[in-house]
Symmetry: C2
Subunit: 557 residues, 2 copies
């Protein structure tokens, strides 16, 4: 047995409370090494005649990637307490794996075993229930619709011209309200807006005033109307909180520039020495090395109070439904815990989404975020479907690895995107091959999690990295790819029609090495999805259990 490949450690993705009553226990082992795994488990306080009383449960092989098999058991401990270990059998030997290592004999004292000491409800990761049913649509407000030309910046270009990093096109809230029909027709039910607060740039990630709407976008009254119009249509609203850094023209930062060490805001930032030097040798911390984005000192109580008041204000006064947190991984965990407590106190079902591009387990333990922007999904999906750089096997392995690295309920609300204002447009990444994009959409919209569509991607807009991925929304139907639009629309409608399509339990089932095939299961409903990413037709034999099934796409037998 390959003992050194067997891994388990309580909490994180290996042992977690799925809900108030249920624990998921997982074990990772070298692929193919173990024939079966049995979980030994019991309450640490139940003893009879000096012996610890335990039960055993078979563990299920729930996934495999290139290196590992993942075994899982689901346990509801009656007294909310658990000690447990693993009897690993590779056909040649049987060893019990515990916190103190491997034993040939099953240790009889519960002190040897792993502990999930108590399932406390308040610690359970519990994202809002509506998120699983949401299809998001990301809007970059400066480029979606110009509904009120009176608000145009002085240097506004004509709608549709090629943007530079500094161009303005006059997009605004009125423009969004005018085009809500498009979103309803598409079928989405959540909008994620990149920042809308007063700022200098077109992207508004350099906030000047967190309590003010950017005047080019509208005013608070218009924003309120936008939220109301969306809520009337059952569309949730998520705003972008840029709390890692402010803009250069944020008043407290201007105060520090002006008054230096005697500024009452000097501890609001990370300043190495005075006077501030926004030149080559930065004397203060920033986002990246961007002098116009000074990093906020979120360890400072005044900064905390200010930002928490911002977080509360837009929920309390405008009833927004979620916060997307910019550069969330560079802000301290301590602040995010305060943030969660404050936000959930005023709106318990608000959604908290962190911008984290990498493995985000430390932020997804129930005390900080509900989800992160799942670029790990994006990377795997793009490398396979769009760039054709990976094999079916590599693609599946990478996704299983990502899924198994998180608890199940984390995956269920993962924010799965194909692209954003920070990446080249997905059709461009697909080398403008709409067929590849369609397969990507099929996969994204049937995968575990909550998908997000970047404005315009659904009608075949193209563009490379920023600024080209931020072109004005194309409203001329003649220039829209309506077939693509209807394809995406249909996929979204399938999510409503078939709960298994959106929320079913996901698992790959190999049918043919050239095909991506997977099942989604929910209650009695079982779906088989087969994707042919090649350019040739392939004949496949359906599993017999699907012989009498309905084709969900055509709705025929």
């Amino acid at each position: 047995m390959l003992r050194s490949s067997i891994y388990h450690r309580p909490k994180n993705n290996f042992a977690y409370a799925y809900d108030e009553e249920t624990l998921h226990i997982r074990l990772q082992a070298q692929k193919g090494d173990l024939q079966d795994v049995t979980l030994i488990h019991g309450d640490p306080y139940i003893w009879e005649n000096g012996e610890w009383i335990y039960s055993t449960s078979s563990m299920k092989l729930v996934g495999s990637d290139d290196l590992f098999d993942y075994w899982q058991a689901i346990i509801c401990p009656p007294h909310a307490r658990l000690r447990y270990g693993f009897i690993c059998n590779d056909g040649k030997e049987s060893l019990t794996y515990t916190e103190r290592g491997f034993f040939e004999d099953v240790p009889t004292h519960c002190h040897y075993y792993f502990a999930f000491p108590f399932l406390n409800k308040i610690d359970v990761f519990s994202p809002p229930s509506w998120v699983k049913d949401t299809v998001w649509y990301q809007i970059f407000p400066e480029r979606f619709g110009n509904g009120n030309p009176k608000l145009n910046p002085t240097n506004t270009l004509s709608w549709g011209e090629t943007p530079t990093q500094s161009s303005f096109f006059g997009g605004d809230f009125e423009g969004v309200i005018n085009h809500l029909d498009h979103l309803i027709e598409l079928g989405i039910n959540g909008i994620y807006f990149t920042p809308i607060f007063k700022a200098m740039t077109n992207h508004k990630y350099d906030t000047i005033d967190y309590f003010e709407i950017d005047p080019h976008f509208g005013d608070k009254e218009t924003f309120k109307r936008l939220v109301d119009e969306c809520h009337k249509r059952d569309i949730k609203i998520m705003l972008d909180a840029v709390f890692n850094h402010s803009g250069y023209y944020f008043e407290p930062f201007q105060d520090v520039i002006k008054y230096g060490e005697s500024s009452k805001y000097k501890d609001w930032f990370h300043i190495a020495k005075f006077p501030l030097n926004p030149g080559n040798q930065l004397s203060y911390r920033t986002f990246s090395f961007e002098p116009t984005m000074p990093k906020l000192n979120t360890e400072n109580k005044d900064v905390q109070n200010y930002l928490l008041e911002v977080a509360e204000y837009w929920i309390r006064e405008f009833d927004i439904d979620g916060w997307r947190l910019d550069v969330a991984n560079e802000v301290d965990h301590h602040f995010w815990r305060l943030f969660r407590n404050r936000v959930k106190a005023i709106k318990p079902d608000a959604y908290i989404l962190g911008e984290i591009w990498h493995d985000a387990m430390p932020w997804l333990q129930g005390d900080q975020f509900d989800a992160v922007m799942n670029y790990r999904f994006t990377n795997a999906a793009i490398d396979f479907f769009a760039k054709k750089q990976t094999t079916v096997e590599q693609f599946q392995n990478e996704l299983v690895h990502v899924l198994q690295s998180y608890p199940q309920h984390v995956n269920e609300v993962a924010f799965n995107l194909l692209g954003s204002h920070d990446t080249a447009r997905i059709l461009t990444v697909c080398e403008e091959d709409t067929n590849r994009l369609k397969l990507l959409y099929l996969f994204q919209l049937s995968f575990t999690g909550t998908p997000c569509i970047y404005y315009g991607d659904e009608i075949g807009m193209t563009g490379g990295d920023d600024p080209l991925c931020r072109k004005c929304m194309e409203w001329d139907e003649n220039k829209q790819d309506l077939e693509l639009f209807h394809f995406v629309q249909k996929l979204i409608s399938l999510r409503q029609q078939s709960p298994a399509f959106s929320k079913g339990e996901f698992s790959f089932h190999a049918i043919n090495e050239s095909l991506v095939s997977y099942r989604k299961t929910l209650g009695d409903e079982e779906l088989l999805i087969i994707i042919n990413p090649t350019n040739r037709s392939l004949k496949v034999k359906f599993p017999t259990s699907f012989a009498d099934s309905i084709d969900l796409w055509t709705n025929k037998h």
Copy 2:
């Protein structure tokens, strides 16, 4: 290369901030598999000509156990941000291990790599600095000294009789004050008191009133005097907070018994159905299945406020230095975060010690505890020195495993005990062989962490499990093992004399398979400690580097 045995995941013990500037990065690999490991690392925002700029650093093999080698690098990222991966070389192939898996070529984009996004000071695990220099002494107040017979319970037995689980002997604060000389002579500088608040039992783990001193122990004035007398002698005071459960006679619980569902305290506990049934089929949650210890609902805001006020009160009014948290692992993490914030706000260098017998990484990330009762150390040390159940190799492997499972600064303040009121006395576990116990003390007092001596162990008291491990302190010098006392005293004095002895970096260095040998290094000072656990004398060859050294025990060359 055994890819499936290579493990790393950021945060926890594998990548953590050691201080405000320093990251420790660790990799686990199959024992003997890798010849060298190189860390690739860089700032995610430093790019030149479209290429990510990274550096490389050799990783050091810092420990091995039966299954794994542990590699470590120490990095101070100039901008507090890090992306990193591992070039693993087994002599036959060289592979780069990243968040996205293994690659033959070194990936050039930093998105592939592991992330430690930002070293935020507030998130750094930072226990009080005085703890490293502390030797604790655990006192069970009912059994240490009877200084004021007027406070004796009515059924007090004669000092020194064999205790039952319900006996009383009249131990009190006055008794502790009277015997402070003993503690000063021994050399300890911290006292951990098991509970002192008003309760029914002799052990006081069934609190009636968290704001009152148990009248058998004294009053608040006496307790204040005790704290002051200790502080005058540079002895810290740690109290026991029993927040997992109250006692049966805790007023709110009595109120629930009396008024059932209409009690205003009904949500202070976990009650399945009314009326309460303390019989065989408990209708409420308890510690273990103990009807007299109803579990407190620490998710309830009133309970939180009550207990947090308790935590603050004894610090504010009596200036205690630390809290030991009973059954800490069964209380929710959310509560412990509130607890830490409240305690550290009023006394930033208070010590927070959790009673957790198993792997406690989820509580030791900087947001909850400063340390846990390190029974993982206890088990390994006892099985080897006291029970002679394990080999030198097994013992070393188990300790390396424990050390590597935690960050270095967690180990530096681990609360290393040989026994407590919950276990048989250590001399009894040693089958009354004082030689074994001496070696245990030598090891405990020279190991990484902060040691604790259970009252009376230092003078050779014996006794099996509770109640026999709670016998009255033996004050008759004729019945004390004074040689043992002087041995322990000398070890403690060596900790003061040689900072390397107490705080040096620990590492095993095999000299002979029958001996336990290790080094402790601090600055220029390097100690070699060799323990012969056999009953025979062994000749060993000293490493030449120690040829001209001083014998710390005799202070001679």
